[in-house]
Symmetry: C2
């Protein structure tokens, strides 16, 4: 799983930072979290394939989180996209998608399937799940968990070949824990699976605009990577409360309290240009804190 | 007068080029021609002050020409703009402005005065004039002329001081060719103006998406600088006709036939990455042709 920080600013872009968006690559597809103005070009700069975006997850619809959506759709259409695009977000998503597409004179040659979500599992594929949970911002705002499914064990290819089980759907059934029949012989999964090599799927939690709040702690518990907004510094705490945002220190506290393995701070106010200071404040609460830079990549 | 090429691509941005927009600085203000996605950040990168934008002139409302408008308005508001912003463009401008502002959850603390224009003088200040003229594209599309007013002569400050004419409104009247009275003495303009030093104002013509056509030749005649779209190359001429665009050679022909002093080619197709080739084709028709690069600046 690869995570790319396409943009890391809040409110407005700066010379160094575009507005916040995060992309996750998994199983050859890309999953995009927010799509502010300029995101398509950040994708081009970073090598994130805008044609392979499977779904876009919007935290909310403040201007700094979604104005890149109509332009991205226009570019996808111009380059011949014909597979559906899934769009998820809080209440208002369907209307925002409709208004965005109605805004520009542009072609749209593929289906856009918009869905309003609040809590729980919202998307599932063979090997991954996305869950939503509500945040505490000025407007309906959603956090997301991207979770690789647990791997129950390792499939022993060599053993399957020795047992003359033909490659293909039968292997896949065994991997899923089902028994299969070849001729008159029945094979059980444990004959080809090494369950000692099972592994828990990675979990990435993405928490955009919010006051820090225990209400979303359970949803993000034990994240391998927590991406948390950190718009402000401690001496701007009053402003954070006023605008319903978090400070870097508070993001660190959230990571610490929810047992995260790693924290990345993003959605940084243009007025806070000193990355070192932002990182230091977070580290007071949680040691493994990293301040995001635009186009920074991470493997999980 | 300074001209900054904020973006130079058409259809979609690329790693090297943002979508086409051009800014003119004159008298401490900026005048923006088109505002596609990413324009506000290009302004930041180039030092064009988005807070000093007096007016935006939209050629038309295809996605690649105006999707940066709502984001720019959001940023202007966040930074406390309180002076009106003038917006000009073809039929549909008022609706597009309304839809853009209605799209995003954002503040707008200043007035936006939208006006639909077709032909002739559309904007005038003390020292400059903007004129519009229709182009030949798939949808209503407008070209613009930005013209510095002619300077009738040079005001001789030293002479005015010798004659004891008090500095201020009286000087300004004399510069405008009016006589003034100081005590009982009447001064005529020619006493302080050196009319041998008069000079014609500079003329910049901006021609975006269009088939080349004699219908706009008169409007852009004798430009000091002609900024002309050149989406395609000669071997893509069929595509240019189909999509109602110009080739680099055709842009050169327009410059030659309208007696331009200099031609800048912009709005270049992402498939044409060889600047030298684009320039060569234009130069076959007009020697003083330059291919625009993003953030290229020019003084007139």
């Amino acid at each position: 799983m690869k995570i790319v920080f396409l943009g890391t600013s809040c409110s407005n872009p700066t010379v160094e930072r575009n507005l916040s968006a995060t992309a996750i690559q998994f199983g050859g597809k890309w999953f995009l979290f927010d799509c502010p103005e300029g995101t398509q070009r950040q994708m081009m700069q970073s090598g994130v394939s805008y044609m392979k975006v499977q779904a876009i997850f919007f935290s909310h619809f403040h201007a700094d989180h979604f104005l890149g959506f109509p332009g991205l759709v226009a570019t996808m259409s111009m380059h011949g996209r014909d597979v559906p695009l899934h769009v998820f977000g809080p209440k208002g998503t369907e209307e925002q998608v409709r208004k965005s597409l109605n805004l520009a004179m542009m072609r749209k040659d593929f289906e856009i399937i918009a869905k309003e979500v609040r809590k729980g599992k919202i998307f599932e594929e063979e090997k991954c799940i996305v869950e939503a949970f509500p945040l505490k911002h000025e407007v309906p705002c959603t956090g997301f968990v991207f979770r690789e499914k647990d791997k129950p064990g390792e499939f022993q290819r060599k053993k399957a070949l020795e047992l003359k089980i033909p490659e293909g759907p039968l292997w896949s059934k065994l991997q899923k824990g089902q028994q299969v029949k070849v001729g008159s012989r029945i094979f059980r999964p444990e004959e080809v699976m090494d369950y000692s090599k099972g592994r828990k799927g990675k979990k990435v939690s993405i928490v955009m605009d919010t006051l820090p709040s225990e209400t979303y702690f359970e949803a993000i518990m034990d994240s391998d990577l927590l991406v948390h907004e950190a718009a402000f510094l401690e001496d701007q705490k009053e402003r954070a409360v006023e605008t319903k945002h978090s400070t870097a220190f508070q993001a660190g506290e959230v990571a610490q309290k929810t047992n995260a393995k790693k924290l990345v701070l993003t959605h940084l106010s243009p007025r806070n240009r000193d990355n070192e200071k932002i990182g230091e404040e977070a580290k007071k609460a949680f040691a493994n804190s990293v301040v995001a830079r635009d186009l920074m990549e991470m493997e999980l």
